[in-house]
Each structure stands twice: as structure tokens, then as C-alpha cells.
């Protein structure tokens, strides 16, 4: 199905919550996609393309995208935007440097454990979403000043909950705490914190996240097979970098056909 450029560009403007580097990334990938398509049309593959495919370590034949999976409701984008919640954490963090510091440590810990278990990017995004929403809840802000370990315990609970929502195999609470941390919590404590987090978040554990928009855009672009996976892999890399809070990084694309622009620190992780 041909891409409706005008419609697509109009819709991309509505996705205002994307961090700027991601939009730049999309622009670069667009050029890259055309290049890939030309290669496919010529029925030839350069060695760098072959290398890239190998590097992704993905068997494209196992990826099945059904035509009608690619197109959901027309109101979908506006539905995603309507469901998206304001993230007011930035203001809170500016006033509460202790909380900001422990949140940063907690996010870094989540990303390390996520990588350790090869969880999906969505699991990491969900865990950080839960943590931020929980930190913003009224009661927790006061408690965290006196008990910095509470933020780390919340991080363990949030990652556990995210894994339960999204992964097919969830490690035990104790096994989940694999990366270096000042504290090691027993199962009972994590259990209780899970309930506390769930109550604070109203059990709404499938929030709209940046990946929801990626999902939509991928289907709008009609990307399939390898192109879809490559597109998503790069976007997910950008998202994780933003979450990690690192700024000014250059990311070199594997094939050299596209150089990603320098990134800036984003205040709003989602």
C-alpha cells in the first residue's frame, strides 16, 4: 500500500511527545528505507547489507506480519494521544534533588537488569513509566526523603510488574536483583511494594508509551520483515538512550548510510 506522505506528515506533527532526536532519527531512517527498497528491487544485496542482517541475529522468515494486523482503527492515533497522561515528574524532580538522584539510580538499575535478562524494550519502558507515576503519587514523595531505599524497592517492584505484564518468563524476586545495588530486598518486601504500586497506579498497567506511537508509525509506513525490525531496533536504541539520560551522544548506523544526529538531554523521559 502506497504511503500517503501528506497524511503521514500531518499525523507525525500530532505526536508531539516524541523527543526531538527521535523525529530526526525518523527522517534519517526514511532515506535509509528508500535505499533498502532500491536494493530489494534490484534483487542485489551489498555485503554491508548482508552484514547488517546477520548482526541483527533475526530470522526474518519467523516474523509474520498479517495484512490486517497492520491497520487498526482510523481514530487510533487520536485515541493514543487522548489516553496519554501528562508527565509532571520534571517539576517535582527540580524541587527535590534527593528524589531526582535516587530516581536516576533506579532507572539505571532497571535498564541494566533489563539488558541482563534480555527483556524487551517495552518491559523497560513500562517499568520506568510505573516508577515515574508512582514517584509522582502524593504519599511517596514525602516518604522518599527519609528512606532513599524506598525508591530502589519501588524500582524492583516496578520492573517485576512490567516483566509480569510483558514477558513470558519472569525471574523470582531475589533473582531479579542481579545488578549491583546498595540494598537487597526479600520477597516479602517486594510483594508488599507491588501491591502498593498497583494501588497507587489504579492497576492501569498498559499505559500509552512512546512505543505505542512507534507501533502505529511502523504500521502506517507499511514496514515489514527486516525493515520493520531494523526500524524498531534503532528507535528502541534511541529511547533507551533518552531514558538513560545521556546527552550529546553520536550513534553511528551500522551501514554508514545514515549518521544519527547528536542527542540532547531530555527532561521528560516519556
Amino acid at each position: 500500500m502506497p504511503l500517503d506522505h501528506h497524511l503521514f506528515l500531518e499525523e507525525i506533527k500530532m505526536a508531539h511527545r516524541y523527543p526531538k532526536p527521535l523525529l530526526d532519527t525518523l527522517y534519517c531512517l526514511k532515506d535509509h528505507i528508500h535505499w533498502e527498497e532500491e536494493q530489494v528491487e534490484d534483487d542485489e544485496y551489498s555485503s554491508s547489507t548482508t552484514t547488517t542482517i546477520t548482526n541483527t541475529n533475526t530470522d526474518t522468515s519467523s516474523v509474520v506480519f498479517l495484512e490486517h494486523d497492520l491497520f487498526w482503527d482510523r481514530e487510533e492515533l487520536s485515541s493514543l494521544l487522548a489516553k496519554e497522561h501528562q508527565n509532571q515528574l520534571s517539576n517535582t524532580l527540580q524541587k527535590n534533588l534527593v528524589l531526582a538522584s535516587s530516581r536516576q539510580e533506579a532507572v539505571e538499575w532497571i535498564l541494566k537488569v533489563n539488558a541482563h535478562y534480555s527483556f524487551s524494550t517495552l518491559t523497560a519502558v513500562l517499568a520506568v513509566n510505573y516508577l515515574d507515576r508512582f514517584l509522582f503519587s502524593f504519599r511517596f514523595q514525602n516518604d522518599s526523603n527519609n528512606n532513599p531505599w524506598l525508591t530502589q524497592l519501588a524500582a524492583v517492584a516496578c520492573l517485576s510488574l512490567a516483566a509480569k505484564v510483558e514477558e513470558t518468563h519472569v525471574p523470582l524476586f531475589v533473582d531479579l536483583q542481579v545488578e549491583e545495588s546498595k540494598y537487597l530486598f526479600e520477597a516479602k518486601a517486594v510483594n508488599r511494594m507491588e501491591i502498593l504500586v498497583l494501588s497507587a497506579l489504579g492497576w492501569q498497567m498498559n499505559p500509552v508509551t512512546p512505543l505505542s506511537f512507534l507501533d502505529y508509525i511502523t504500521r502506517k509506513l507499511g514496514l515489514k520483515g527486516y525493515l520493520c525490525l531494523e526500524f524498531l531496533r534503532r528507535c528502541e536504541t534511541v529511547l533507551l538512550s533518552v531514558f538513560a539520560g545521556e546527552g550529546g551522544r553520536m550513534l553511528q548506523a551500522d551501514d554508514g548510510g545514515c549518521v544519527w544526529v547528536p542527542m540532547r538531554r531530555e527532561n521528560d523521559p516519556s
Binding site: 498479517l66 494501588s199 498497567m205
Partner: protein, 317 residues
């Protein structure tokens, strides 16, 4: 421990004090289900009880997914409404979660059984109405990126008076995103399981729910399960005997699925032999729901537009 309703710390009654249990009506995915009365309002509800073992691994994934997904879906009239989640303690002081649902007095399994016992057929217009509601509810779930993955008559609740049908038991439901990820294999109840799942596909999608809908459709007409296998192999053989053994021509890629083997070669039979009493339009819709190739299987939304439903009064559905 009592759950606080607001940040201001106003406590509400614990689940035990708020409800009077009337009778146990079933076992859910992870615990018991009770018919109960809310003391404050006199309203009849269904309480689904899940015990949390504090020395174990916390909230079960099935409970977590079910509640979260129902929180997303509860505004559709054809998905069972989750009214509240309450935390309480049982007699031994252990933490218990109660999911508070609207009460529905029967389910499709009991409904079909009651007709089987009397020997009567379910009236065609009743079948049509129930099927339309089912397609509408599933279209709503799929439109929100949710796969049910365990559709069967037992999970479709009904109100006998109004003939309203509601989708329930989303403990195995999944939020669906592209690219489709590897999901666990043993998910759907065997009789309603799509052939691609039986053949080991882990990258499956909305089409698996449509296959289940097709099996339920046939069962409404005949009052017997369409494919009643007692093992995965037998389930496949039941399907192949009716629809023909699939090959690369009718289902490109089938022979590459993980659990594909050599099977006896059957030619397809007419669906009317297995589902006598269903008219031509119904058979056409059913055949599109039981399409082998997942990408060609009809979507729930398209099914609602099928001519089979043209003469149905949809005003109140």
C-alpha cells in the same frame, strides 16, 4: 491492611465487610468466584478471589493482565465490567485480592447445554444476535490491541432475560504490539485453538481469536463442539478431516511451522456436512472464520459487516 481510596487517607470497608458472600459459582483462572451482595447498595456482584502468598512471588501475571486490560476495555457493553479491586485479609490473615465484577447469571456453555438437554435447537435469530455481540466485543478488544486468547463458551457470560453476551476471563489476554513477539505456546483451550498455534507458531495474532469465534459459531448451531480433540495431534486431525489437510498451496508457509509433520491426506468436505441447519450466508461467514491462512481469516470488524447479519435488528446491541 485496608486499601485507601484517596491520597487523603480515607479508608473504606474491607472486602469482607463490604460484601456478603451468597454462594460459590465457580473457579476462575487463579481462584474462586462467588456470587455476592454489596451491603451498601444491595447490588449483586461477582467476586473473583485471588490469594497472594506473601512468601512467594507477588501478584500473579494473569491477575495483573486481566485487571489492567479490563481497566482499558470496560466501557464496551460486550466486555464484562470490572467495578473495583479490593484488598483484604482472609481468616488466616493472608492478603487476598477481590475483583468485583458485574454479575451475569449464566454463560454460553450452560446456555448451549440447556438446549442440548431439551433436544431443541437454539433459534436462528438468537444465534445471530449472540454471534453479532461476540464479533462486536472482539472487534472492540482487537481495536484496542488486545488479544483474548482463550475464547470459549465458558468465558462468554450471558444474561438470560436480555440475551446480552459479554466477554470475560481475560487472564490470558495480551496487549498486542508490532512486531508480534514470541508468546507462550500452551495458551488456548484445545477445542478452540487455531491450527497455527497447534502447529507451533508463537508469532500469532488476532486471527487466533477469530478461529475460536468460528468454532463457537458452529457449536451454537449444532450444540456440539466442532473439533473436540483430546490431544494436540487429535485436535489437528479433527480439523484436517473436515477442512482438508493443508498444504503450501492453500496455506503458504504451513510446512515450515515448527510442529509440522507428515499427516494423512484428507480432501476438504463441505462445512454444511458438519454444521447442518446453518444457512448459506452463515456457512459463508463460518468458512471465512475457519480460513487456514491466518492473514486471510476474516477480521471481527469485517465479520460484523457480513451479509449474514443484514436482517438482524442491531439497534439495541
Amino acid at each position: 491492611m485496608e486499601m485507601e481510596k484517596t491520597g487523603a487517607g480515607v479508608a473504606v470497608l474491607s472486602a469482607k465487610e463490604a460484601f456478603e458472600k451468597l454462594e460459590k459459582v465457580g473457579e476462575g483462572t487463579y481462584g474462586k468466584v462467588y456470587r455476592a451482595r454489596e451491603k451498601a447498595t444491595g447490588k449483586i456482584v461477582a467476586l473473583k478471589k485471588t490469594r497472594l502468598h506473601e512468601d512467594q512471588e507477588g501478584v500473579p501475571p494473569t491477575t495483573l493482565r486481566e485487571v489492567s486490560i479490563l481497566r482499558m476495555l470496560s466501557r464496551d457493553p460486550h466486555v464484562v465490567r470490572l467495578m473495583d479491586v479490593k484488598q483484604g485479609q482472609n481468616k488466616e490473615g493472608k492478603t487476598v485480592l477481590y475483583l468485583v465484577f458485574e454479575y451475569m447469571d449464566t454463560d454460553l456453555k450452560k446456555f448451549i447445554r440447556s438446549f442440548r438437554q431439551t433436544g431443541q435447537s437454539i433459534p436462528p435469530q438468537t444465534i445471530k444476535s449472540l454471534m453479532y455481540q461476540l464479533c462486536k466485543g472482539i472487534a472492540f478488544c482487537h481495536g484496542h490491541g488486545i488479544l483474548h486468547r482463550d475464547l470459549k463458551p465458558h468465558n462468554l457470560l450471558m444474561d438470560r432475560k436480555t440475551m446480552m453476551l459479554k466477554i470475560a476471563d481475560l487472564g490470558l489476554a495480551r496487549a498486542f504490539t508490532v512486531p508480534i513477539k514470541k508468546y507462550t505456546h500452551e495458551i488456548l483451550t484445545l477445542w478452540y485453538r487455531a491450527p497455527e498455534v497447534l502447529l507451533g507458531a508463537t508469532h500469532y495474532s488476532m486471527a487466533v481469536d477469530i478461529w475460536s469465534v468460528g468454532c463457537i459459531f458452529a457449536e451454537l448451531v449444532t450444540k456440539q463442539a466442532l473439533f473436540a480433540g483430546d490431544s494436540e495431534l487429535q485436535q489437528l486431525l479433527h480439523i484436517f478431516r473436515l477442512l482438508g489437510t493443508p498444504n503450501e498451496e492453500v496455506w503458504p508457509g504451513v510446512s515450515k511451522l515448527k510442529d509440522w509433520h507428515e499427516y494423512p491426506q484428507w480432501n476438504p468436505k463441505s462445512l454444511s456436512t458438519a454444521v447442518p441447519g446453518l444457512d448459506e450466508l452463515g456457512l459463508d461467514l463460518l468458512s471465512q472464520m475457519l480460513e487456514y491462512e491466518p492473514s486471510k481469516r476474516i477480521s471481527a470488524k469485517k465479520a460484523m459487516e457480513h451479509a449474514y447479519f443484514n436482517d438482524l435488528d442491531k439497534g439495541h446491541l
